[in-house]
Symmetry: C2
Subunit: 285 residues, 2 copies
DNA sequence: TACTGTGAATCCATTCACAGCT
DNA sequence: AGCTGTGAATGGATTCACAGTA
């Protein structure tokens, strides 16, 4: 029972580095666009620009797949599309199930980008009996009771979890028990899976938080910089509600006291600390 | 005009590595859960398990933030929640706009995980006049014409793009021109933004493709291994439609010929190559 | 001439292992 | 005794820069 890894540890499958694998879909997308415009060949420079990477990286990536280019010319678009598709396993069809047909599951069911890349939505599954039977994206929503049957009858090996966090682990276990070995998890939870099962996660709010981090220090150079620096090892008192404003003191007091002070301030406000709305959060001293 | 970077190059903002920043939201989520259960302290081991990472990594990550733990004891949960929130900039409110209220935009608008972490959806924007005015997630959908006004009036610095791929770049430019400096992009396109603007992307189908890659070589050991190996530098003829089946020949022919052969085969079938359904894809020889 | 393919150099991230503190 | 914090070691990923080739 490994605890929620994102993908297999580090074991570059058949010698292709994970970082490279993660970029192949990007190249594929750019190449498909070129293919539609009937562009016969591209240079590493052009393709890299279209995919949003630099050309050295792209060439190194491709070198792991083989020598698919022509020196002095570039890469044959159709040929590369085929090679990358094959490498990614997209020349075969992958039946997937989507579990949890709420807002997000609904959006996923209707997302065109799956079908066009070899992923076939075999079934939509939801636990709410009142939702079952409804036709969504051309498919009837089926009840969780049928999960195992559906997986087995359709030979599904990839499952998408779009349930609330609380249901995710159980759904995950049932999927795995029924034969699923790859899971795409949209629920904000860490999933535990046995070895041999791959989990990838997409957390919408995490991406925003990372942006907020960077955003903070763009506008932050103004009022925050001094405080942030002075606070280095303890924390800037209370920001946004500048109570004591002892920030100018260039860290002479022992960290211990500062830490305790901040802790107290935190305990006092305990503003937003709940993950999904209102929260008690009574801390025992 | 830098071409679509995912985040700022490598310039670890204020010394915190990007990889660490990307994990802070994970820790925060785990800590918030503990906080709700009124757990006062955690060890690095416990917290790491809850966040799905290993404890050495977690300790190293926290060491970039400062010395927030107590040796022999662990970390104070509330205190850490506060410190990480502050580091991520979540102690302030971030107004965001969502552009493109299709299936996905709708799901994003209703997603509870934003509001609970300091992100306030300031407005929903769509280009379709027939959609405007509709109340979605408690907000009226507004027309793209109002984009600039909305951004400025609400001091929005973070924008979420959930439009079709074709509209994304234009929307992006308008957002940036109006003052947005961080963009979360769900459209399957590379966005070009000026320096100083951060873009993060979420591509639902890319994650599935990465899973497919790994999935392929789980079941792949049976029929595919031989072909894949023999084909090493050229490609395995045509898989799934085994026309010539010359795979057993242990690569004696020059790669040139093999490459041409595969190219021809590809040209012949040109099965699925379109990105979003049907595709002409007429390739000039 | 114009490009790919790739060793070598560099940079970043992870892991190890233990000193240091409570 | 039990845990954090962190230098040092390792391993991956990116970039450089150029030899090789159509």
């Amino acid at each position: 029972m490994a605890t929620g890894r994102t993908h297999r540890p580090a074991s570059r499958s058949r010698g292709i580095p994970e970082a490279t694998v993660a970029r192949l879909p990007l190249y594929l997308r750019a190449l498909t666009a070129l293919s539609e415009r009937s562009v016969p060949t591209v240079s590493s420079e052009e393709l890299a620009a279209a995919a949003g990477v630099n050309s050295a990286k792209l060439r190194k990536d491709f070198s792991y797949l083989g020598s698919y280019g022509t020196r002095g010319v570039g890469y044959d678009v159709e040929y590369l599309v085929y090679q990358i598709s094959r490498e990614l396993g997209l020349t075969q069809d992958w039946p997937v199930v989507i579990v949890g047909i709420g807002n997000l599951g609904h959006a996923l069911a209707n997302y065109g980008g799956f079908a066009s890349r070899g992923f076939r939505v075999a079934a939509l599954i939801d636990a709410d009996p009142s939702a079952t039977g409804k036709i969504t994206a051309g498919l009837p929503v089926r009840h969780t009771d049928e999960l195992e049957t559906i997986i087995r009858e359709n030979q599904v090996s990839i499952g998408v979890i779009a349930t609330p966090a609380g249901a995710a682990q159980e759904v995950c276990e049932r999927l795995v028990a029924a034969g699923v070995t790859s899971i795409l998890n949209f629920a904000p939870t860490v999933l535990s899976v046995p070895d041999g099962v791959d989990v990838r996660k997409v957390d919408l709010s995490i991406e925003l938080q990372i942006l907020a981090f960077h955003e903070q220090r763009k506008s932050g150079e103004e009022a925050l910089a001094a405080a942030a620096e002075a606070a280095d090892a303890d924390g800037p008192g209370t920001r946004g509600k500048p109570e004591k404003s002892q920030k100018a003191t260039p860290l002479a007091a022992p960290a211990k006291a500062a830490k305790a002070a901040v802790k107290a301030a935190v305990a006092r406000k305990t503003g937003r600390s709940g993950p999904d709305g209102e929260v008690p959060a009574v801390m025992p001293a």
